[in-house]
Symmetry: C2
Subunit: 136 residues, 2 copies
DNA sequence: AGAAGAATGGTACTTTAGTATGAGCCTCTA
DNA sequence: TAGAGGCTCATACTAAAGTACCATTCTTCT
């Protein structure tokens, strides 16, 4: 946010400097003032839109960064995380096993440890908790 | 979107008209041009931010409107929808029954018809499908 | 090399989930 | 008023999900 303000200030200064030259051109006597102002207005209009969009993107990326740290804090392994994603996509243990080329008992083991680590009683609760923690 | 463009056009015209008067003031000879331009730049900057935010809000509201229509299309009743929300929050059938003051078999009936209507095989899949359809 | 942890899988058992079917009750509408 | 649809509940099953314990293999780190 501090960076955008700085960039913004520099832009204003640059445009003011630009005006310093165009000021003499105005004295020649035509209606180019309106044009310059219109262009500047449009420019800042789109700058506003751009900055707003970027700040929204950044905030969503920040929540993504939290993800990985949370996963590490909970000591969820890669395989377990894969299983978690598969659960969230609505697959059964058997289907997950087929997708990852594993046996169903292996999936059950992963699921059980996942439920422990997420402090959930059911896979549906695990999905809810994981989404609340921005893990999914 | 068409409305915002119209409003935008009117604003530009208004400012151009305002300039028509200030033009004569400039001929008196001071550096107020920079000030006017700076104010206009700022104004349009914030207009850009405002319009961008509003359009984002509208798009999120639109997806909310789709919800209700989709629910009606799938012929999901109020009770079934309550159960669906409870499922998505990670509750078991027994817990849902307690929450809604119903018997577990009633919940099972609702869940079964929900799975049929959502074309899901499991409750986890129902959650996934419902979220994809913006029902949840 | 050896400990630690991740990944894999098996057996046996308990608990939920989900299906099928039938039935009673209520409300709204043709 | 009769039927349709929604809501409730029960029984009897079958199928998943989840737990507990144990064992093996494979990295990885010290």
């Amino acid at each position: 946010m501090k960076k955008t303000i700085l960039v913004f200030a520099v832009l204003i200064l640059a445009i003011l400097a630009l005006l310093h030259f165009s000021k003499y051109a105005i004295l020649v006597g035509d209606s180019s003032v309106e044009w310059i102002i219109a262009v500047i207005a449009l420019l800042f209009f789109f700058i506003g839109i751009y900055i707003n969009k970027r700040s929204l993107k950044k905030s969503s990326e920040t929540s993504n960064e939290i993800n990985i740290k949370t996963i590490e804090k909970l000591e969820i392994s890669k395989r377990e995380y894969e299983v978690l994603k598969a659960i969230a996509s609505g697959l059964s243990n058997k289907e997950i096993a087929a997708q990852l080329f594993l046996s169903e008992s292996t999936i059950k083991t992963h699921v059980s440890s996942l439920l422990l680590k997420l402090n959930a009683k059911r896979r549906t609760q695990a999905i809810q908790i994981a989404k609340e923690m921005n893990i999914l």
